[in-house]
């Protein structure tokens, strides 16, 4: 295959990389006052990359390092949407904080590039390079409010634990490479199909799963999540909870299903274990939280548990369930974080859930929008969140995972408690002082779009499900 066709397949990523470097130059030459221009150009670049992803050709490039297929296309669209809206939120946030710097959108573009390379990786080497590009940018983003102690702490914690998880991931990859003789997913699949599971490969898979579980914050590798979510600036947390989570989860799907389809019996028990633990911890530990960003961190741990249940099914149905779950999770979470960012009193951000007390009396519309999003996260039937869980549980039950699915339903019933408590605080508690007046335009647009998508998923779901189905079939033919 010639270099031209390779580059054509890589075009969206190339435009993102070149665009990020061009924006860096604009910022470096023009100084801090270019920040709004850089932000809007960054959103335009993400839009272009999105068009390129959807219209671009499919195929593998660079000797099987990179693959553009339906699966990567579905994942990349979610990542790009999450990234573009997070950049808009970040612009609003840092302008009001008077800390806006042009490096923010540039770093977000480079992190997005890393995510796109991750979900398109077809060999362990490409997987690791993309992951490291993404992680390194995310560490810096977490510590971006460098004069804020919490933010610096979040960045440092994320960096140390992320480095540890990368070490475990690399150890697993090296074991897999040593026992199968290749880093290519297809070659590894061939070797394990003939040779079965040697002890070394199983060792490698365990370490690989441990490293990946760190990245998706699944129990027992979740400890960093609450601190990082709480400490990082709110739009960065939104970026972590949407684009980064989707990328890590899609990477998880591909790195397990693509090279090890024949070792289902070996890895399924591990995935079921971390999935059930994540669901349980996400539901129970969130009950005692009073900081809303910490609460969202535990909520995301729980949601990753549900998504992992779809992976544990190990079928195309399961992968489809995970992808639908992630799509719904992304647009609901973007709305929730836009709402959290709008929680301001006297120009200062407030994060305690009791700051929401009696919100319905001071701002009924905001309280209603917020509640709809929380009820969707809880998984109440007519809302989108219900269908997310429905498709995952359906796949799990069809794959014979009855007990984990029942435990999942129980966990989501427990999880309902803290989501409903938030709604109760907003609607039935004594009113606290009102929040600062009007929502900023981008936040308002994101919240309305998110709520509309949550409410209308029941009627407009079929294109999403069709696309997710095609994506899952590209992964597991």
């Amino acid at each position: 295959m010639s270099l031209q066709t390779d580059l054509l397949i890589l075009l969206p990523e190339l435009s993102l990389a070149v665009g990020a470097m061009a924006l860096l130059l604009i910022g470096a030459i023009g100084g801090e006052k270019t920040e709004p221009v850089v932000t809007w150009l960054a959103v335009c670049i993400l839009l272009l990359a999105g068009i390129g992803t959807v219209m671009g050709p499919e195929g593998t490039a660079f000797h099987g390092a990179f693959v553009a297929d339906r699966f990567s296309r579905f994942a990349k669209v979610m990542i790009l949407v999450g990234a573009a809206l997070s950049i808009l939120l970040a612009d609003e946030f840092f302008v009001t904080e008077k800390n806006s710097r042009f490096e923010m959108p540039v770093l977000m573009l480079l992190a997005t590039l890393g995510m796109m390379l991750m979900v398109s990786a077809k060999s362990f080497l490409a997987l690791y390079m993309g992951l490291e590009l993404q992680s390194l940018a995310l560490y810096v983003l977490a510590a971006f409010s460098r004069d804020n102690l919490r933010s610096s702490e979040a960045g440092l914690k994320y960096f140390v634990l992320g480095a540890l998880s990368s070490g475990m991931l690399l150890y697993g990859i090296s074991l897999i490479y040593g026992f199968t003789g290749s880093t290519q997913f297809t070659s590894i699949a061939d070797v394990t199909m003939i040779g079965g599971a040697s002890l070394g490969v199983v060792f490698g898979i365990v370490f690989l799963i441990a490293g990946l579980a760190f990245k998706v914050s699944a129990v027992p590798f979740h400890m960093w999540t609450p601190d990082v979510y709480e400490g990082a600036p709110t739009p960065v947390t939104a970026f972590f909870a949407t684009a980064a989570k989707v990328a890590a989860m899609c990477l998880f799907l591909r790195a397990i299903l693509s090279p090890f389809p024949d070792l289902l019996a070996q890895w399924r028990q591990i995935i079921v274990f971390i999935s059930v633990l994540s669901m349980a911890l996400g539901a129970i530990a969130a009950i005692g939280q009073t900081n809303i960003k910490r609460l969202m961190a535990y909520s995301s741990i729980g949601h990753m548990g549900y998504a992992l249940l779809g992976l544990a099914a190990g079928t195309a149905m399961g992968a489809r369930g995970v992808l639908i779950y992630l799509a719904i999770y992304v647009f609901t979470n973007l709305g929730v974080f836009a709402c959290i960012q709008a929680m301001k009193r006297g120009g200062k951000a407030v994060e305690n859930i009791y700051d929401l007390a009696g919100l319905a009396r001071t701002d009924l519309r905001f309280a209603t929008l917020f509640s709809v999003l929380f009820l969707s996260l809880a998984g109440l039937p007519p809302l989108a969140g219900f269908f997310a869980k429905f498709y995952v549980f359906l796949a799990a039950i069809q794959a014979g995972l009855i007990v984990p699915a029942v435990l999942g339903v129980l966990a989501s019933a427990i999880g309902l408690v803290y989501y409903l408590r938030l709604v109760k605080v907003m609607f039935f508690d004594d009113a606290a002082a009102p929040f600062d007046g009007q929502l900023a335009p981008a936040s308002r647009a994101i919240i309305w779009a998110s709520v509309a998508a949550t409410l209308l998923f029941i009627v407009g779901a079929s294109p999403v499900i069709t696309a997710a189905d095609a994506a899952a079939r590209a992964l597991l033919p």
């Binding site: 480079l110 590009l133 940018a137 460098r146 199968t180 290749s182």
Partner: protein, 201 residues
């Protein structure tokens, strides 16, 4: 024969130096032993036919990293002897963990069975009739250009990150302005004063 002697020589010195790195009382000695350890590891790489790795180890680790360590150790006023005082009391626990790890590695190693497909897919260190460095050069910018470019981007992110998190403009700090420096002429900087003998300036 000579190869075997060289292997044992390098391997023994490597382990001895590595032990001295953690055992030496003076931190500067520790870093110097670390440099010697790097040299011995480079020797082992040469014996394996990986001379490029050997050179990189010396250029990067000895030339840059270890010298940087040396600077840091000399500049920071850390009492390393104080830090190491408690090391002995953790020795039994550390040794226990080390033993468990060795046992696990032995178990994994004894179960090492290579299937025929694995052997077929195995990559050789160096193609026949070509040196290791030339072989790496052939593939680094061709087959592996994708990885190479991503590595470049990772370094770019590291650079941006370091600047974003540490660079700040403090008031009252005098900075070098090259244009002002260059525009300065002798007439602006030097003044001739005719001082009479015995009066002083």
């Amino acid at each position: 024969m000579f190869e075997a002697i060289a292997f044992w020589f390098f391997a023994f010195l490597l382990i001895a130096c590595a032990t001295m790195v953690i055992a030496a009382r003076n931190p500067v000695h520790s870093v110097l032993f670390l440099i010697l350890a790097f040299f011995n590891a480079a020797g082992l790489f040469v014996l394996l036919g990986a001379e490029f790795l050997a050179m990189i180890l010396i250029v990067v680790y000895v030339g840059a990293v270890a010298v940087l360590f040396l600077f840091v150790v000399m500049m920071l006023d850390i009492d390393f002897a104080e830090l190491k005082r408690g090391a002995l009391q953790y020795l039994p626990f550390g040794a226990l963990i080390g033993l468990i790890l060795v046992a696990e590695l032995a178990m994994a190693g004894s179960a090492w069975v290579l299937g025929p497909a694995t052997m077929a897919a195995k990559a050789y260190a160096t193609p026949q009739g070509i040196t290791n460095t030339a072989a790496l050069g052939h593939i680094l910018y061709t087959d592996y250009v994708y990885y190479f470019q991503i590595a470049g981007l990772v370094l770019l992110v590291a650079m941006i990150g370091a600047i974003v998190l540490t660079l700040r403009s403090r008031p009252g700090v005098r900075r070098q302005v090259i244009s002002v420096q260059n525009a300065r002429t002798a007439a602006m900087a030097v003044e001739m004063i005719n001082i009479k003998p015995g009066e002083g300036a």
